[in-house]
Structure formats: structure tokens, C-alpha cells
Symmetry: C3
């Protein structure tokens, strides 16, 4: 089941990248590359930093197929995007929950400190979007709007608190993912956000 | 012979980086750094992602010398650049062909799937220029103009098709490089490009 | 003593990142991330390129604590920043000297060519700031103003010249650090800088 969610998250991230790139009037190749890096960028950066190379997507060509499908879907349905916005947002939120947990898990597997594992989870979930925005020369949206990454950090903290209860691994993963997903849904519904600090 | 082409490609990429940076009015140090990352950026990213570290240019100081020469040439001849544009374009195209093949080869050597090898070749050839444009805060030119990276992808597909014919390795490399180089020359001569997708 | 300087440098870099991000009106999470990458970015890139993974800060959670402290200090004192500018500049300069030497040392430890070691030292000291500026979509300040990175390169050359004298390691490190720090102080006091090259 976890693998299925990974596929859904990858596809949703690819679609969100493709849609951003089309907005920026990139050519189809540029759209594909942005879709690709949005989908695999966070995981690639994580793998590079922990020395797990060749990085994940290079060893499993299925990621490429999933991204190609996401790219084609984004192109085909780009004019209907407004009515699709809700579904895309929902998939993206699933991706956020799943990718945070995958990052946490990789960190735990190599024995890193919980705070570092949480950083890895957040990086896995958020840095695809950061690279997407940098390639489109925008200040990354997660630094400006919504509490996107903050939710990953809290999700990570909840994960390590629940972990002390010796829950079954599946229950632990599912609970944390659902926590992240529901907080994100509430955050957007109730427009939670952090204000910039006043500087002068 | 391949090594000589590698040197020509590296120098051409260094010069293209230096010229872009001078246009942006960077100071000479900034110009040097941009020349450096344009020349080695694609290969560095490839090596990092496949875990071939320390990355290539760190183990062979000749790359540094070649880049320094390219940097100095770009500075000396910067005012004559318009008349040099054709030669620089030609060197850059050789670099494109050679770097794509070097990337393909590294992927094959570690047994990656052909689609991933093609991604590695494209990344090796194109991401130096992407990093150059990001450091100069421009949307990377390969996402907007010309079919630069698309040619690398097609070159990679041709490579794997020819490879099934059991050609001699040298013939295979030379044919694919020449294919990439001639398609690029034609693409620019006949102004082939991909149009942005209409979005609304 | 070297470790103490490392902490001071990390904290100064975190504060400089946080202050830049607050100027850009990022939300507090964005400010924290920019503080983080400014502090560890150069060392992370160095470790990735030489294959020293998991990268340094992942193995020592103290870096995270130091950065959190720097982040909080930057927020608390942000309105008094003008009067703090001198102290921050001084810490940042210490960071520059220390980080250059740490980079040089890592390169020497794995037997790289002196020119490559100097590149590693410069990268360690400067690329945190480059990543900071890219995430804020500005052309990196070190390519435009001040002779920041040029000082690291000269510091590296001085290091390898002094090294031939068979000095005690501590003396060698201290002398080079002090050389870098004093040149930077003089560079800013006397407004030394490199001019952009005239292009047309």
C-alpha cells in the first residue's frame, strides 16, 4: 500500500511541476524537466546527502514512467485545471505525507539523530517544490505561503512521540501520514499561515 | 581522440559561461566561477547522483587549467565576440555531443536502465548551462529556446538503437556524436524549436 | 579552539542568512531554512562532492542547536541590527577564515591536488552564501561586491606556501586564518573590490 501511495505522490508532484512550468510559458521539454525534478528532487537531494547512490529513481525506471504519465495528464487536462485543482491538491497532500515518512525512515535506517531524521523527512517532502520554484526563478512558495514545511516538521515530531509507544510499524506510519494529511487539509481550509516578521 | 574532444567541449562551455557572466556585469571572480560551473556543473551533478566521488574534475587538475585558459580567452576576446560567435557555437555543439556520450557511458558502466542512461547523458550535457543561468537568476535558456536538450534525448535513443547492431564501440560513439552535432547545426540553421503550450 | 571557531562561524552564517531572509519578508519557517542552508550549505556541497556522506551536520546534532540559537538571536535582535552590524561582520569574517581552512584540510586528507583543495576551501566558505542568495532569487553577492571569495583563494595559496616551511600544524592553521581575516577586514575598510569587465 505504501508503494501505491508513493506512486500517487510522485505523480501528483510531477503534475504540480508541469502546471507551474506551463504557467511560466516554458516549452514542452522544459515542462517535462520541471515535472521530473519536482517529483524526484526532494528524494534525490536526500539520497545524495546520506550517500545512498545511485539515487533512488535511477534504480527503478518505474518512477520515469509515472512521471511521464503525470506530465501527459497535466498537458491533456491543462485547460480544465481549475476544476481539477481540488483533486490535485488532495494528491499533493498525500505526497507530502508519504514523502515525509519515506525520508524519516531512511534517516532511522542509517541511525541518525531524530532531529536529523525530521530534517530529512521535511527535505524529501518539500525540496522538489523548492527546486521547481528556483528553476522558474521564483522565491520558493514554501518560504512565503502556507505552513507546508512546518507541517512536515510537526509530523516528524508526532512520529517520534508515537514511536515510544511501541506501536506496530504499519499503524505508526499510517497514523503519522494521516496526521500530516489532515493538518494540511485543515491548514488550507482555515487559511493557517505564518506571518513574515516585521523587520523595522 | 575522445579526450581531445572532452577538452574542446570543456573549454567551449567555460567560454560560454564567462561570456554570459560578463553580460551580467559580474566582477572577474564571478565570471571565473560561472565559467567553472558551466564547464563542470553537468558532470559534477552526474557524478554526485551516481556516487562517483570525489567528482571527476577533482581528480584531474587538467580540467582546472583548461577552464582557466577558456576564461582568459573569453576575457581577451570579449570585444570581438560577435565575430567569434560562430566558432564558439561550433565548439559548444561539439561539447553537447561529447558530454552526452560521456554521460551515457557512465550510466552503462554501472548497469543502469537505458532510459536512465539517456537522462544521465542529457544531464551531463545540459545542466552546466542550467546552473549557469540559475546563478545569473535567469530561467534556464534550455527550457525556453531551441531544442538543445531534446537533441540529447534523441541522440541517446539513436545510441541505444545503433548499439543493437553490435557496431565497434568507436564507430558507435562517433556516429552518435556526429548525429547530435549535425541535428544541432540543422536545428539552429532552420530555427527548429518547441512552442510553449497554450495554457488557457 | 578550532571547534569553538567553527561554532562561531556557523552561528554567524546562520544569523546572516536569517537577516537576509527577514529583509525578503519570508515567513519564520523560510527564515529558519535560509539560516540553516547558509550555515551548512558550503560544507554540505563540499562533503557531497568528495563523497563524505552522510554529510557532516547530519552526524553531529550540535550544528542544529547552534543554528537554532543563531536563528533566535537574529529574530530577537533584528530591530537592533544596525548597531550589531559590526559584530556580525566580525563573526562572519571569522567564519570565512575557519571554513576555508576546514575545506582545505578535507581536501588534503583525501590527497587532492593543492589547486583542488583551494577550490574546496573557497566552496566551503562561500557557497552557503551563494545558496542563500539563490533561494532569495538574487544574483549571489559574492559575484558582485567585495573580494570575498578572492580572499579565500589567496588564503589557500598562502597556506600551501607556508606549508612548505614545515611549520607546526597549529601555527600553520592559525597564521592562514589570521591572514584571511585581516585581509577581509582591510578589504572592507579600504573598499577593495573587483570591477566588472567592460563588455562592449
Amino acid at each position: 500500500m505504501f508503494h501505491l501511495l508513493d506512486i500517487i505522490g510522485t505523480m501528483a508532484f510531477a503534475m504540480s511541476g508541469a502546471l507551474t512550468a506551463m504557467h511560466k510559458k516554458l516549452d514542452p521539454f522544459g515542462v517535462f524537466i520541471i515535472a521530473f525534478v519536482t517529483a524526484v528532487g526532494g528524494g534525490t537531494l536526500r539520497d545524495i546527502m546520506i550517500g545512498r547512490t545511485p539515487v533512488g529513481w535511477m534504480l527503478d525506471v518505474n518512477y520515469v514512467y509515472v512521471i511521464v504519465v503525470g506530465f501527459i495528464l497535466a498537458i491533456l487536462f491543462r485547460k480544465k485545471f481549475d476544476s481539477l485543482r481540488t483533486s490535485l491538491f488532495f494528491f499533493d497532500t498525500i505526497g507530502l505525507g508519504v514523502f515525509t515518512l519515506i525520508g524519516l525512515e531512511k534517516g532511522i535506517n542509517i541511525g541518525l539523530h531524530p532531529a536529523i531524521c525530521i530534517a530529512l523527512g521535511t527535505l524529501t517532502a518539500c525540496f522538489g517544490g523548492v527546486i521547481r520554484d528556483i528553476l522558474c526563478t521564483e522565491i520558493p512558495v514554501i518560504f512565503r505561503k502556507e505552513i507546508y514545511a512546518t507541517i512536515c516538521i510537526f509530523g516528524g515530531i508526532v512520529f517520534f512521540m508515537l514511536r515510544k509507544l511501541n506501536l506496530d510499524a504499519d499503524v505508526l506510519y499510517l497514523t503519522t501520514s494521516l496526521f500530516i494529511i489532515s493538518i494540511r487539509l485543515m491548514a488550507v481550509k482555515f487559511k493557517w499561515h505564518l506571518s513574515p516578521l516585521s523587520y523595522k
